[in-house]
Amino acid sequence: MSKIELRAAPHVHAPRSVENIMFNVVLALMPICIFSVWQYGLSSAVLIVTVTATCLATERFFSKASGKGNTLADWSATITGLLLALTLPPSFPLWMGAVAGFAAIALGKALFGGLGFNPFNPALVGRAFVQAAFPSTIASFVPAFAQQRFTSFVPSTWTAPLMIPTDNTGWIKDAAVDAFTGATPLGRWKFENFTYTTHDFLSGAVTASAGETSAILILLCGGYLALRKFMDWRIPVAVVGSAALLAWILHLAVPGRYPEPLFVVLSGGLMLGAVFMATDMATSPVTPLGIWIYGALIGVLTVVIRYFGGLTEGVMYAILIANAASPLIEQFTQPRAYGTAKTDTAGGAK
């Protein structure tokens, strides 16, 4: 007993660590990435790799520049990269994907001080950046399960940097997929009042971004994370529940104008957003009541933006707005301390 160490209690620790949580989120995203590649082929694969690699490189650059040492090992930049890639159309030019990846980490994370300090979900900051920068490209899609998807890239994938994306019309024609319109279900509903069947959504047979398509797969992966306590189940439940409730009320009020709640839940990025992006720990509240309010806000905003806004999709902005509101929500939902009469609102007047 020559050397004795002094450390503060507690002297035991639960097995969960940041690396552990983040790594499991990466694991849970893998099946969704693989499914995306199965649906969209080579273009999807290189897009995921490019975006993630850009995110990692950017993270490495800034962590070195700020003297933090290597922060890649915490896996958080990998998650940002994968999630960002999954929200982009599979035909998205790689150079634009790299811009998105750089924006996500540089503007969404490093600028604020890195892991834990970012007020907005970095992946969505990246997506919002390219949505503003390349509005038409981010709204052009290619059909899923095109027969040549494993033998040839979508032409726009290899667009030269800073160039307008190559035309994909020929490639889509070769795909020989019936009735491909190039519009997402939400777009077709909004502009043509056309709705898809539930089966289309569950199987992923609709036009969408790379990782938005299979609700079942997203639910399974999210279920894994929730069961192992790497994700707060309350957030997706609140998001989906509130979106469905509002959609249901509107559907009952004006049935011909507004679709069924299930359409709202399954279409677009709601599932992916609710399970993987709204649940980003750093940008969601920590208080129990705050978590429910935050989730409900996302659900409601999504429906409001989709129904009454100019965009076809609302999940991204809904989450970003709720991220911004998160500290405020937290202030007014402090837990009730033991032995005190009621919830003290820390932000309220003293």
């Binding site: 007993m1 209690a9 002297h11 620790h13 707060d232 940008t283 920590v286 301390a337 033991y338």
Partner: protein
């Protein structure tokens, strides 16, 4: 009800650390006598005792060697038959050198307790019981080390309704209370009756975590028929043994923030404390040895030992077969216990457990510290309903006054749940300890 086991009374939130309570299965053993005992005059909250022996004087095991110095103060008794070798400054657990009495044990002495003044316990009035409790030198054995008699004598304007007896022992590794409940249930009931009479409680509720069914069964066998004392299984969950948590579990009530439990008519005592009182008071003896759990990875003879107060820690660890490459020695449980800097200090009255961790166990514990990722797990586990995540961020910004004014910093009793679960390995409890100290200093200034 058939689903009763699902709804065991408890408190909100909390954690479930691995138990490591194997020592709870083997009986209490006596530790061999060491050659030298060091007894600090201050081993509890309150004033240090005043020596009543002189250097060179021979003392009997159980003989008083220091008297009280005021109301919140307890006497000391010699743990061995021997000779007073020194009265002077010696190192203690806190790292501070304190006035202590050193006694060299006579080799070959039978070390029976020859000193005692049996009393007719049934004739004692509450005041006499409180005096008798003080005369034993008893302090809270759960670790608080508050003089027991002072706790039993609550201010008169607050009538005491319930005596809560704390047999939770929620800290991992520790099983001393468990063994005392199993082996000395009769003493526990006797001591409980004394305490009820002393504080005026009509009812006593013994709360035991449901991971100790043998202790519950042993107590149930000796409960008095009048139903004044009952035993209750509460959920096994850390920190069930914290006073405020057990009040919630047994009475469904909360102690108002900033108030003491007697203000809601409650006095709480640890099972070990009452079992010792039940044994000592009828014999008129003093408290000279206690049950200590010695455990931890690598300890070759872990178990519960009856250790005389004043035994050198190094001797205790050698007897229990602690590994030579031990790198961390903790007094108390792993959640709240303090690591000590030196082994050349004596065992004192408040030490319920000694845990020894070797290097391999330590390495498992060590993780990289990250910034707070706001996972919210600390909020999910804080038994006091605080927001450790926000408190931690404020501590990093040195916003100590804000922590105290708006985020109930003073409600934190340092149970360690937040640090235990924190995936970023942020030393939250340590930050709060510092913050509380700074706030206290600022308020005093």
């Amino acid at each position: 009800m058939i689903l009763d086991f699902l709804f065991k009374p408890s408190f909100e939130r909390g954690v479930h650390p691995p138990q490591f309570k194997e020592t709870g299965r083997t009986p209490i053993r006596r530790m061999p006598f060491a050659s030298r005992y060091t007894l600090p005059l201050s081993q509890s909250v309150g004033r240090a005792a005043k020596p009543i022996v002189t250097v060179g004087q021979e003392v009997l095991r159980g003989q008083p060697i220091a008297e009280t110095a005021g109301y919140v103060s307890v006497p000391l008794h010699s743990p061995v038959t021997g000779i007073v070798e020194d009265i002077g400054l010696h190192p203690t657990l806190s790292g501070e050198w304190q006035e202590s009495i050193v006694i060299r044990a006579f080799e070959g002495a039978s070390q029976e307790v020859l000193y005692g003044d049996p009393v007719d316990v049934d004739a004692l009035t509450p005041e006499q019981i409180i005096n008798a409790v003080q005369a034993t030198g008893m302090v809270g054995l759960g670790g608080a080390a508050f003089p027991t008699h002072a706790k039993l004598a609550a201010p008169k304007e607050w009538p005491i309704e319930h005596l809560l007896v704390n047999g939770c022992e929620c800290e991992p590794f520790l099983t001393a209370d468990h063994r005392m409940m199993v082996e000395w249930p009769q003493h526990l009931i006797t001591g409980t009756k004394f305490a009820m009479k002393a504080c005026g409680a009509k009812r006593a509720l013994i709360g035991v975590e449901d991971n100790k069914p043998d202790a519950i069964a042993a107590i149930e066998k000796v409960l008095p028929d009048d139903g004044s004392i009952t035993v209750h299984a509460v959920k096994t969950k850390y920190p069930q043994g914290a006073a405020e948590m057990l009040v919630k579990a047994l009475l469904g009530r909360e102690v108002p923030a900033g108030a003491r439990s007697y203000q809601i008519g409650v006095v709480m005592q640890n099972v070990g404390t009452l079992a010792e009182l039940g044994r000592l008071i009828p014999r008129g003896q003093g408290f000279i040895e206690r049950v200590v759990t010695i455990a931890g990875p690598g300890v070759s003879k872990p178990g519960n030992y009856l250790v005389p107060i004043g035994t050198p820690l190094r001797f205790v660890l050698e007897q229990a077969g602690a590994p030579r490459d031990a790198v961390e020695v903790i007094l108390g449980g792993p959640m709240m216990g303090a690591a000590i800097a030196s082994l050349d200090v004596p065992v004192t009255k408040a030490i319920s457990g000694i845990l020894v961790f070797d290097r391999s166990a330590m390495q498992k514990e060590r993780g990289k510290t990250h910034p707070c990722i706001k996972c919210g797990e600390c909020v999910n586990v804080c038994p006091k309903g605080l927001n450790p995540s926000t408190l931690g961020m404020l501590a990093a910004k040195r916003e100590y006054d804000l922590m105290a004014e708006r985020y109930h910093l003073d409600g934190c009793f340092e149970c360690g749940c937040c640090s235990y679960v924190c995936p970023s390995n942020i030393p939250l409890v340590q930050q709060f300890r510092v913050a509380k100290e700074i706030v206290r200093e600022r308020q005093a200034a």
